[in-house]
């Protein structure tokens, strides 16, 4: 026997595994583990959202800007400043909370813009077909082959740094991506019996597109937008890093990390603290997106 027994055993339960493929390739854990896959990252995100948006309103958090020069560079766990203060005396914890607001706002806005504009674009292209689709897809191809960062940098550079401009610049990434996903989903749904039935009963084509096809691809678009949100948050930070993001007196995770880069050898915590928050947020979004994808059985 050249084949060891354990290997045969591990390959044996083929039928069982084949059933699982319906839910998602790779085979996933079942039962409580699967709900934990969604509950844990979901809970983390809720806590972060609460901390960023509601906590500063109900609890007297120090202001994120205009800190006193008498209390600069306090270490971690100082009295009144759990994460210490930065080089100009601002409370780091409060900058994290207010910076998180920026990250979440930008992520949400960019996803909504992408979902609406890209979604309509993709559905119309996929449903109509023909020359219109060919032209639309060509335009999209150009956008996708085009290194979007060039576009984003050009937009951000000329509009000047501000949160709204960052949102528009980053939408250059999300719109083509959503359009692609929406088109692929439309092509899959277009000839399904329920769409054919609607068409045969004389439903107007815009109604079919937005009341029949769109709700059916919504789970897919939602999980996609969670993954997209994590990418958006990372890119927002990248813009801060290159100097095209949120202008420095205001707080954002990206510009905290960027500002901390100069002090990396003396006070690594300026970089490490916001990095941890950034990482936990993007990781939770990815895990939640992945978990929901498995739960809803979308690819």
């Amino acid at each position: 026997m050249s084949v060891p027994v354990p290997e045969l055993l591990s390959a044996a339960p083929v039928p069982e595994a084949a059933v699982e493929v319906v839910h998602g390739p790779g085979g996933r854990a079942t039962g409580w583990l699967r709900s934990a896959e969604i509950a844990i990252p979901g809970a983390i995100l809720l806590v972060l959202l609460f901390g960023c948006f509601i906590w500063p309103v109900v609890y007297p958090v120090p202001k994120p800007t205009g800190g006193s020069l008498l209390t600069t560079n306090l270490p971690l766990w100082s009295h009144g400043h759990i994460f210490g203060t930065d080089i100009v005396g601002n409370d780091i914890m409060s900058r994290i909370l207010y910076g998180g607001r920026v990250s979440f706002e930008v992520a949400a806005a960019v996803q909504v813009i992408g979902l609406v504009i890209g979604g309509v674009f993709g559905i119309v292209a996929g449903y109509r077909g023909g020359t219109l689709e060919a032209v639309m897809m060509r335009v999209l191809d150009v956008f996708i082959a085009f290194p979007s960062l060039v576009l984003v940098l050009a937009i951000a550079d000329s509009l000047g740094p501000s949160e709204t401009h960052v949102i528009w610049a980053l939408s250059a990434f999300s719109i083509p991506a959503f359009a692609r996903v929406a088109r692929a989903a439309t092509l899959r749904l277009r000839d399904q019996p329920f769409v054919v039935a609607a068409r045969l009963s004389g439903t107007k084509s815009w109604r079919i597109q937005f009341l029949h096809i769109f709700p059916n691809m919504l789970p897919q678009l939602l999980t996609f937008s969670l993954l997209g949100a994590s990418i958006t948050i990372i890119l927002e930070g990248a813009l801060d890093f290159l100097g095209y993001g949120i202008p420095p007196p205001g707080a954002s995770w990206g510009n905290m990390i960027a500002a901390g880069q100069s002090f990396i050898s003396v006070a690594p915590r300026f970089v490490v603290v916001p990095s941890i928050f950034l990482f936990v947020t993007t990781l939770s979004m990815n895990l939640l997106g992945d978990g929901l994808r498995a739960r809803w059985g979308v690819r």
Partner: protein, 305 residues
């Protein structure tokens, strides 16, 4: 395709407020100086006339000269391109060297220790921002351990060892998210094949070991999917080189691009975008050609039609 990309760049750069003349001459320039400078560089011609000139020059192999310095765009690209190219190639080598064996190990025992561990790690790898990773590596390897330098660049001609030492951290930063992504993709693809494909069952039935089936039958088929993804990822890869070059101060194309954009140096930006676009198109062409090398089925369909 390339035409669309360059035209779009031209359009975007021209539609934006701010112009090269005032950006280059600085805030102390008088309106008269700006005017003569603009006329000298043909900045006052209509958009389409300028694009036509530029396109005509490019077709004859002339990329023009930079507005900011007397250097020609071609020679500038010649200087900067090798740095970025080396970065990308080094990063891809690391990526494949890690992700392919790892994916095979994962697929060998799904839900085993290696599989679970690497899935957790790869999720982290996908979620981590490149600049966070870069600074983390700098803290650990440059500040605490002083193994690699934090910033700086030595070209290969100045010494291979120094060059590799400077390029290692930047390449790892680019390679890690890619590795994570490819490992996940390859693992899923391998598992799907192992569960459903006839040729796998045949191979197993004739007594080949699991290892052999994985590496020689399944892996070969997975390369096709992998190739597609690499082609699609290229634009993103280029994006991350811009950030990494900025952090590690590598004199590559991304570094140049940032300067050119803030100077409104249209010929340089156009040249760089052209190179990026050409790289994407070439990669897609290469992917198509490699398909038929890797998969005889595609070759046969082609020859019959």
């Amino acid at each position: 395709m390339l035409w669309g990309v360059t035209f779009l760049t031209f359009l975007v750069l021209n539609a934006l407020p701010g112009d090269a003349a005032s950006a280059l001459l600085g805030i102390n320039a008088t309106p008269a100086e700006i005017r003569t400078f603009s006329i000298k560089l043909h900045l006052n011609d209509p958009l389409f006339v300028r694009y036509g000139h530029w396109l005509g020059d490019v077709v004859t192999g002339n990329l023009g000269t930079s507005l900011a310095s007397p250097q020609s765009v071609a020679s500038m690209l010649g200087q900067r391109l090798p740095v970025t190219l080396e970065l990308v190639v080094y990063a891809l080598i690391i990526t494949f060297a890690v992700s392919i064996p790892l994916a095979v190990l994962c697929a060998r025992r799904p839900r085993g220790v290696i599989d679970r561990l690497s899935m957790v790690l790869s999720m982290a790898g996908i979620s981590v921002a490149p600049y966070v990773l870069a600074l983390l590596l700098v803290i650990v390897f440059a500040v605490d351990m002083s193994v690699f330098p934090a910033i700086g660049y030595q070209s290969i001609s100045q010494g291979l060892a120094g060059n590799l030492r400077d390029m290692t951290l930047p390449s790892i930063v680019i390679a890690l998210p890619l590795t994570a992504f490819y490992t996940r993709f390859l693992r899923a693809d391998l598992l799907e094949q192992m569960q459903s494909e006839d040729y796998i069952i045949t191979a197993r039935a004739k007594g080949l070991s699991l290892w052999r089936v994985l590496t020689q039958h399944a892996l070969r088929n997975s390369f096709i999917g992998l190739l597609t993804i690499i082609g699609l990822n290229l634009a993103t890869l280029i994006g991350s080189t811009v950030i990494v070059e900025q952090i590690f101060s590598l004199p590559g194309i991304g570094y140049e691009l940032l300067q050119a954009i803030s100077n409104r140096d249209v010929p340089v930006v156009e040249g760089i975008v052209l190179v990026f676009g050409a790289a994407v198109v070439l990669a897609n062409l290469l992917t198509d050609l490699l398909y038929s090398v890797l998969d005889p089925r595609i070759r046969h369909v082609r020859s019959r039609t």
